[in-house]
């Protein structure tokens, strides 16, 4: 187990313990001078977070009487405690940590979806990159390979494992190592790993440097499956169901708006990410979609059990709360 996932597991169980002892106190952020409800939303400054910034810019939240502020988060390991403390009301995370939180007994609910994985490799903003002379040409060839992913026991690793299993290869034969995105291209070039699961804008950089795209695990294994979701703390959602409904309405509108206005997504991305303008122009945008179905979440939870991320399927009853 690498350090980060150890941290995540240890942290989440500690959080569960403390939350259980102290009782979940759901606190809201109060109201602003003009009577809008203060809502702090945690996002990682990636393209996927664009709907939130667009929604703020377009006034979708203001018209629902919400004063939304975007806060930076990095991992679910700290975002979820922050949410339970009441510092954040919502956060944008991938399905895996949300399910993990459920396994730890934390009361986390998914309120709406943000984006879905692409159906075809050409639309997929993430792909397996290999050296031009590599034997790896498709997902099945990943058997026995050393594969760099951005986080172990996370969505990227799950996607690669599922794609391998679907192609008839044994995911257990592959070795997964954790690599930050900026290091991936050079790690492949230098032969430190056989393949990496890279994502835009690093994917395009890698292709420009002469690396070859072998396969796209997300579109192969999880086409049209929800990627990132907006989550909230259960007690907060219960106590403030009216405010929560207003947030969901405004956020849904924002996500739909992002789906329909790709140019504005690119423009707003320049304001909250550090992605260079040049890279931003050619980048593949996430496929924004606010729909959220329990069946899809269950599919991921089952896959997490199969791939031994978790030992037993958690009780997902009420996890999706739209």
């Amino acid at each position: 187990m690498d350090r980060r996932s150890f941290l995540l597991a240890a942290g989440l169980s500690a959080t569960g313990l403390v939350a259980a002892c102290g009782g979940n106190q759901a606190r809201d952020g109060g109201t602003t001078a003009d009577g809008r409800v203060v809502t702090n939303v945690g996002v990682t400054p990636l393209l996927n977070a664009a709907p939130l910034y667009l929604g703020i810019k377009k006034g979708f939240f203001t018209s629902e009487g919400l004063a939304v502020t975007a806060k930076t988060i990095q991992t679910a390991a700290t975002a979820i405690p922050s949410m339970l403390k009441g510092e954040l009301q919502y956060a944008l995370v991938s399905t895996v940590p949300a399910i993990n939180a459920r396994v730890q007994g934390l009361q986390i609910n998914m309120v709406l979806g943000n984006d879905v994985y692409a159906q075809e490799a050409k639309d997929d903003g993430a792909a397996i990159l290999v050296r031009a002379d590599s034997r790896i040409k498709k997902s099945a060839d990943l058997a026995g390979a050393t594969i760099g992913v951005v986080g172990l026991k996370s969505m990227p690793e799950l996607a690669v494992r599922l794609a391998m299993r679907q192609a008839g290869a044994d995911p257990g034969s592959a070795q997964f190592v954790e690599l930050p995105y900026p290091e991936m291209n050079s790690a492949v070039k230098q032969g430190r790993v056989d393949a990496v699961l890279s994502a835009d804008p690093f994917l395009q950089q890698g292709l420009d440097q002469g690396l070859r795209q072998a396969c796209a695990p997300y579109s192969e294994a999880l086409p049209k499956v929800t990627g990132l979701t907006w989550i909230g703390a259960g007690p907060y959602l219960q106590e403030h169901s009216d405010v929560a409904q207003r947030f969901v309405r405004a956020m849904t509108k924002s996500v739909q708006y992002a789906a329909e206005h790709p140019d504005e997504v690119r423009a707003v991305a320049g304001t909250f990410t550090t992605i260079p303008a040049k890279a931003l122009a050619g980048i593949r945008l996430p496929i924004f979609d606010p729909r959220l179905e329990t069946a899809q979440v269950e599919k991921i939870a089952k896959a997490m059990v199969t791939e031994k991320f978790i030992t037993k399927e958690p009780d997902l009853n009420g996890l999706v709360r739209a």
């Binding site: 991992t75 700290t78 405690p81 922050s82 339970l84 070039k189 230098q190």
Partner: protein
């Protein structure tokens, strides 16, 4: 440690206490320049992975400064650094004094201290966030949890190292406990304490940055993470360099203040006591 008698004899500060001869500074700077040159040439010729050339990195750093983006994060990091260090000292010194004076209390606490000392502060990140949110309070908690140990233990060692002659003298004259603490124990322990503080200052900066990266909380660490997420690699390294420079400045200042304040102390005159 020598007896008090020798103090008079070696009152002249050693060369270490004065600033270094200009030639040595020149050689040091020259070596740094040479390393940078090798680095630059290495990148031009071969593949260093994602690490940018010093010229590219330098440009990113200059951009950061020119755009005025560097001040606020540096200030955030320094605030948590100072606050963490202060809280650690406020806890570490008194507790260290008590543990140093009383052997029985030290024996009682030793297991607990060793146990707590081995817990990596960063493992407490989620707990800290749950209790104090993702701001300054969490950072201070994490820093204190790591910095209190070097300060406390150095204080213990300092107290134990009291000159026996001075101690006997105090006893003979029946000096009161308060005076004894102020004029015997604290000054004797000062050399050790200063070393503890200097170590803690480094650890504090390290924890401050790490917490900012993991939580993430405002500061240099968060800027490193944000630059990394966006693929702005030179900017990311520019922030890392900024953190490094901050570390050097802090260490330099502490060493300097230590020498100034403890000019009279044997550790500064003979290079002992560290």
């Amino acid at each position: 440690m020598t007896v008090t008698g020798t103090r008079e004899r070696v009152a002249v500060p050693t060369p270490r206490a004065r600033s270094m001869p200009t030639g040595a500074w020149g050689a040091k700077a020259g070596f740094v320049v040479a390393v940078l040159a090798v680095w630059e040439i290495g990148i031009r010729l071969g593949d260093f992975g994602a690490i940018p050339a010093p010229t590219v990195l330098g440009k990113a750093l200059v951009d950061l400064i020119a755009e005025g983006r560097i001040a606020a994060p540096v200030l955030d990091t320094l605030t948590s650094w100072a606050l963490g260090l202060l809280v650690s000292a406020a806890i570490g010194v008194p507790v260290g004094l008590v543990l140093g004076v009383s052997t029985s209390i030290y024996r009682l606490c030793r297991f607990l201290l060793d146990f707590l000392r081995t817990i990596p502060s960063l493992a407490l990140v989620p707990l800290a966030v749950l209790l104090y949110g993702s701001g300054l309070a969490s950072k201070t908690l994490l820093i204190t949890f790591a910095c209190v140990w070097p300060i406390m233990l150095q204080t213990v060692y300092g107290v134990r190292d009291i000159d026996p002659v001075a101690e006997e003298t105090c006893r003979s004259y029946r000096i009161r406990p308060v005076q004894r603490a102020l004029f015997l124990i604290l000054p004797s322990a000062a050399g050790y304490l200063a070393t503890g503080l200097r170590i803690a200052a480094g650890v504090s900066l390290l924890l401050s940055l790490s917490a900012e990266i993991i939580i993430p909380a405002p500061g240099i660490g968060q800027e490193i993470t944000m630059a990394q997420l966006g693929g702005a690699v030179p900017t990311m390294y520019a922030w890392i360099v900024a953190a490094g420079v901050l570390g050097i400045v802090i260490n330099f200042l502490f060493a300097r203040v230590e020498r100034r304040a403890l000019r009279w102390h044997p550790s500064q005159r003979q290079g002992g006591g560290r």
